[in-house]
Symmetry: C2
Subunit: 410 residues, 2 copies
């Protein structure tokens, strides 16, 4: 056994010493540990209960939060706490949600997927049928087209409030192309209608090219079966496309020769341009990024070394670079990207930063494999105007004040 009193004497001695960088010790000096912490003096909790684990009670504020108030508690939206997460995976319990008629309680044994319309053989699949097909697993982000805001938000907005309609998981399912081949796509089929088995019967039209490319019929999310609010037992997944098209609780696919012009397409999910014309079928989520540390609501505890960290993504493929500015855009530095950098997946970026204690304006911009560079708000608004609800991907600035507080600025 190591004499612990000796350990503490050594540790206490460090208060008068100097360190290699001075970084890590400054906060420890005035707050030495107890000799033996209380939790080493008693047996801990059993690991047998619960059989499905939960976060520490000390993490009780790391939760999904309602984004906007809605008339009812169904048809709501909750956000992922991006500012509290590391890496690129979103744990399933914190994946953002959006639904239009609440979350249906579906018995997977009773669930069916119908494939009909312009096909050689209309088919109905059970879940057992679908899980027998050859499967693939891929890490993809899902982002709601309503992420971000065209309106200036109040101060102290968090990353969760700013960009929290964004999550990333390892999805497993059968390629939609495999199932369509089983049904036999008829010549002339150019679109398919995807319908959910929720009370809103959510429906969207999907171009057949996307269906035959990387679309998946997913039943698993980060290893386990989908969560109910993520479409249990089956959802469509259209990598890089706006989230609402990855129809949850998927029950029906109808092939046709033109888009189906559902209410989601005629009355929703279109973007009103400055000239009064609405852009329809704006599928792809463009390159985007957000600094998650330091971000709104957080506070820096004095000048010194920090790591700026955040997330970048693009619905068009891989992120090839992220540039970070700490002076409001005068100078930009290239951040390191955490490997593996995957297509249509969140990418974690990091940049060391020494804060001198003066006010600083932090920006990040994402660059994707097409060469597209995430625009400033001014540039985006110049093209798109301010009448849109969707597809906002402007740079998100964070203001660091001299006292270390971090707040949203437009």
């Amino acid at each position: 056994m190591v004499p612990r009193r000796g350990v503490l004497k050594g540790a206490a001695a460090l208060a008068a010493g100097t360190t290699a960088t001075g970084r890590a010790v400054s906060q420890s000096r005035s707050n030495l540990p107890p000799n033996i912490p209380e939790w080493m003096k008693t047996q801990g909790a059993t690991i047998l209960s619960p059989p499905y684990g939960l976060p520490s009670p000390f993490e009780k504020n790391v939760i999904r939060r309602q984004r906007t108030r809605t008339p009812t508690q169904t048809a709501a939206t909750t956000t992922t706490p991006l500012q509290d997460l590391q890496g690129i995976i979103t744990p399933n319990g914190l994946h953002f949600e959006r639904d239009h008629g609440g979350v249906p309680a579906i018995d997977p044994d009773q669930h069916r997927l119908m494939v009909h319309g312009l096909v050689e053989r209309p088919l109905i699949f059970t879940m057992d049928d679908l899980t027998r097909f050859p499967s693939v697993s891929r890490l993809y982000f899902i982002e709601c087209s309503g992420n971000g805001s065209w309106n200036v938000l109040p101060p102290a907005t968090t990353a969760q409030e700013s960009r929290g309609l964004l999550s990333c998981a390892e999805w497993t399912g059968v390629p939609l192309a495999t199932v369509l081949a089983e049904a036999g796509v008829k010549p002339g089929a150019a679109w398919l209608l995807a319908e959910g088995a929720d009370a809103a019967a959510m429906t969207r039209s999907v171009p057949i090219a996307k269906a035959m490319d990387d679309a998946l019929l997913c039943y698993s999310q980060n290893g386990e079966r989908l969560r109910p609010e993520q479409g249990y037992p089956l959802r469509l997944l259209l990598p890089g496309f706006e989230g609402n098209m990855s129809v949850k609780w998927l029950r029906r696919l109808k092939l046709g020769d033109q888009p189906f012009q559902t209410r989601e397409e005629t009355g929703q999910y279109s973007d009103l341009m400055p000239n009064g014309v609405a852009r329809q079928f704006t599928f792809v989520m463009e390159a985007n990024s957000i600094i998650t540390f330091p971000s709104g609501g957080q506070r820096l505890h004095g000048p010194g070394s920090y790591e700026i960290s955040g997330l970048a993504w693009s619905g068009r493929g891989r992120v090839t670079g992220v540039e970070v500015s700490t002076d409001g855009g005068r100078q930009w530095r290239r951040a390191a990207l955490q490997e593996p950098v995957l297509t249509k997946c969140l990418t974690r970026f990091r940049l060391p930063w020494t804060w001198d204690g003066a006010p600083a304006l932090l920006l990040s911009r994402s660059i994707d494999e097409t060469g597209y560079i995430q625009p400033s708000r001014a540039k985006l608004v110049a093209v798109r105007g301010l009448n849109s609800h969707y597809h906002y991907n402007a740079i998100q600035p964070w203001q660091v004040a001299a006292d270390g507080t971090v707040t949203y600025v437009a």
Copy 2:
């Protein structure tokens, strides 16, 4: 709106038709869907509660299970339900667990990490200190050295019972080398002692070369902070090494010039060889694999097309290949490996298989980047004997009977 009665007529018609492969339709014929399922006729549940999501009640059997009976409910072991999971990520609520004195309830604000011994500057870190260091995120498996069994298990054993002391997550933390550089490693330091803040004060000796290579001080797991049973708020992570060395609830690192010969090293976690000599410090988990579908306790519903799927891993680096046999080892076929294939990470393999309805003996063997091939039980026992408790990595066979039931065989 699409007339649903028409849809159903079309679907019903398929019962008399033929399909491209006959695969997916066979089970659907006698079990047509309701016209409109009940869950489309009422508003669904609100997504606002709980703010931290949970699996569907229909997945209530996908849980961690106790592996062996222990005298108390602390110092226990629970396993991951590998047979129910897809892809490579283990959701945090299903990560296997092992502890020696229960799970401590640690207040992260009170937690400290001491670094002392053969260092220039003994240091004490708060969690805030540690999270300010530059961080990395990596996907790694953790496997208990006691995974698998040297004894023949009873029939109907599941993949969870056979190899469930195995999980995989995206871990985020600070490289241990960074923190040691801050303290300044003295010449002659060759080992470090890692101590947990649990009631058992779990301690292990770690070679300094591993500490300076890829060891991490982790605080996050699949995005969120560690779960309590995974070491909240801080654990050591030694990629590829036996799980117990990735000390949880990490409170102390002492550098020395030789191994510390803790009780875990003198009385535990060593392997008794046939000649009566115990091998000590057997760190690396060798190449291993398990077929998760079809596996013990599952049942095939008649002859036809299936996908054999499973997990492969190696503590020495990347898995370069997995071979699968369906005839007890006479013929082997190369399985497809799901990208990305990462070092010291689980790798998902898949192989299409047409089952003719005759009894079949399924095997898988993993090959890693060192050229090592996972051995049969006979070959492993010939070298290691039957006195060991740890480091069992023999091929796991599954017997498929003519009625489709799948059972363990030695």
